[in-house]
């Protein structure tokens, strides 16, 4: 609810930029704190539910926070905080229109709503809120490139929304409820009776729709076409959050709504591996900073999908840890690359260089997040990748393990490519000097996130324990169902 209030206040204060920025910042801080409180509560009680409007489930709309949702909300607050801080400190501040802050908060509202809802139609509505805000953010500056990217983004996402809605209608027609816990029970019954044909059809529609939103192979084309076009904080926010919402929906679909083998996990596994490889190959061929990073989003989604597809406690836990790590590392990389390209004057790797000498602090922060993404110890990516590899070993999927390690190497390659081209080599023009002032204040949000990447790596144990518990909750959905429906079924 916090983002909604903030967004409303931010719209009201659009005539007063200073007031609006203060409101925006305080709103996100409150969201972050609420995320922490929620996390603490959920750790204690395992599940928290609210029946909106006082109607009992399965008739009313349920909001439920289990560990997965709590983790996601917490890190949504984190990345939102960093992005807003960045936008406040960015040099291009005056170029931002007054719509930026309200839109960001609407986006956050949609994202948090999608994480917390226990009602599948509510999930659709939250998706749409999120999409609408992201469309507007994407086209905020109205440049030609942005319009082009937005056309592809809008068309594909609307298509996937229509599929989602269609699946929803069919599922409702079959099971007569929209409550995810209730659906889960009925679907399990139908599978037991060998009567799940129409449900599988609806599930397939959901599956395609969520895959489009998550940017999975073969539905990823819209992502690298549009993510590098908007302003830096916007693309960092998109990179950190939007695809993760699609992944979150896929996790819910595969563990709760259609548990077990209603939809094939094999298919998901193949798609995950393909996503991972295609993404990293795409990145290797690019020479534009944010395009490389966009392709890496796809490849990272592949890792997470593999974790979901293997569907053991360990693999789900590693998928969740990977999402968290990815939100932090990816968002940070986009922000750092924004500062770097702003300082160096181009995002094309042929035209950059010399940043190591010019601004070593920035270079170090880049290195931390890039190595974290590539999975070098002791950073967060190492823990995340190691746990995925463990999960594949545990399930004896050797070819998947090989693909995971191979992709890790290629990720390292393209991260080092950016490092060499932007920071290490000399600038192509001689006598080149920094044109923008080295304002170390702008490093605040990125160093904040880099610190988190280190913390998640060194002190990742407690968080991974939480992820394991979340994974246990996901593999055994009976607790979730019992809490939502109130009575033991």
């Amino acid at each position: 609810m916090v983002p909604l209030l903030t967004a409303a206040f931010a719209i009201l204060s659009r005539e007063h930029p200073v007031v609006q920025r203060c409101l925006s910042l305080s709103g996100i801080v409150v969201l972050f704190i609420v995320g922490f409180i929620l996390m603490g509560q959920v750790l204690e009680h395992n599940y928290l539910t609210v029946q909106v409007g006082g109607w009992e489930a399965p008739y009313g709309i349920t909001l439920i926070a289990d560990l997965l949702a709590a983790i996601m909300v917490l890190f949504t607050g984190l990345i939102g905080f960093a992005v807003i801080l960045y936008s406040l400190m960015s040099c291009k501040q005056d170029g931002f229109s007054s719509a930026f802050h309200p839109l960001v908060h609407f986006l956050l509202m949609g994202v948090c709503g999608a994480f917390l809802t226990g009602d599948i139609f509510n999930l659709y509505v939250c998706f749409e809120i999120m999409l609408m805000a992201s469309f507007a953010l994407l086209t905020l500056e109205g440049r030609a490139e942005q319009t082009e990217g937005a056309v592809k983004y809008v068309v594909l996402n609307l298509l996937s929304s229509a599929l989602f809605l269609g699946g929803l209608g069919l599922l409702y027609a079959k099971v007569g409820t929209l409550n995810m816990a209730d659906i889960s029970l009925i679907v399990q019954q139908a599978v037991a009776d060998d009567n799940a044909g129409p449900i599988r059809l609806a599930g397939l529609l959901f599956f395609v729709s969520f895959s489009v939103k998550a940017g999975m192979f073969p539905f990823f084309f819209w992502l690298p076409a549009s993510y590098h076009t908007p302003s830096v904080p916007v693309s960092a926010l998109f990179a950190g959050l939007l695809t993760k919402v699609g992944v979150y929906a896929l996790i819910r679909l595969h563990t709760l709504i259609m548990p077990g083998e209603v939809l094939g996990h094999k298919l998901l596994l193949f798609m995950g591996v393909a996503t991972m490889l295609i993404g990293v190959f795409g990145a290797a061929s690019q020479m534009h900073i944010r395009r490389i990073l966009s392709f890496h989003i796809i490849s990272q989604i592949g890792y997470i999908i593999i974790g979901v597809a293997i569907n053991t406690v360990l693999s789900l836990a590693s998928a969740i840890f990977f999402i968290v790590h990815n939100i932090v590392a990816k968002g940070n990389l986009f922000l750092v690359s924004g500062i770097a390209s702003n300082a160096v004057g181009s995002e094309d790797l042929h035209k950059t260089g010399g940043m190591w000498k010019a601004w070593p602090q920035l270079a170090i922060i880049y290195l931390i997040s890039a190595f974290s993404l590539a999975g070098l110890p002791p950073l967060s990516g190492f823990v995340a990748k190691l746990s995925i590899v463990w999960a594949t070993v545990e399930s004896k999927l050797w070819w998947v393990m090989a693909a995971v390690i191979f992709t890790g190497l290629l990720t390292l390659y393209s991260m080092i490519k950016i490092w060499v081209e932007v920071f290490w080599k000399d600038h192509p023009e001689k006598n080149w000097t920094l044109t923008v002032s080295k304002d170390n204040k702008r490093l605040l949000p990125v160093s904040f996130l880099a610190l988190f990447a280190i913390l998640l790596g060194i002190g990742g144990g407690p968080l991974f324990d939480i992820c394991m518990r979340a994974g246990e909750q996901l593999t055994d959905s009976s607790g979730y169902i019992r809490v939502v429906l109130g009575a033991p079924q």
């Binding site: 749409e128 440049r143 490139e145 592809k152 609307l158 298509l159 229509a162 929803l168 409702y172």
Partner: protein, 125 residues
């Protein structure tokens, strides 16, 4: 009745897909709008067209009459229509912007953001 409606939905979906595959941006957007309407109809029909009375519990009755229609799909569709309208408006504005900035609405030529070569990318304006 269900059969007729099913055919209508099928034809709408087919036309929507046909429109989506066209080159002009406006046709694609109309395709999306049609797709949305077809989906709304689908929700409506899929849950059955057998109700005959309003889904209101009268003064004397304690439960809903068995002849009442299911109100939930209608609520869903209402929500979906509102959302769809907003998105339709946005996409029309986007298409207008696209024509204004790029000078054409041919999606085959909208390839700059995908190209590998930086030199072909559009200059910032």
């Amino acid at each position: 009745m269900e059969i007729i409606m099913s055919i209508v939905i099928g034809v709408s979906y087919a036309s929507a897909v046909f429109l989506l595959l066209q080159k002009r941006l406006l046709q694609i957007i109309l395709g999306i709008a049609l797709l949305g309407h077809a989906t709304n109809l689908l929700i409506f029909v899929a849950s059955g067209l057998h109700g005959t009375t309003l889904p209101i519990i009268g003064n004397e009755a304690k439960v809903l009459a068995s002849t009442a229609v299911d109100p939930l799909p209608q609520a869903l569709i209402l929500t979906a229509i509102v959302i769809g309208l907003a998105l339709f408006g946005f996409s029309l504005a986007l298409a207008y912007r696209c024509v204004a900035v790029l000078g054409h609405d041919d999606v085959d030529q909208i390839t700059h953001t995908d190209s590998l070569d930086e030199s072909t990318s559009l200059s910032e304006n």
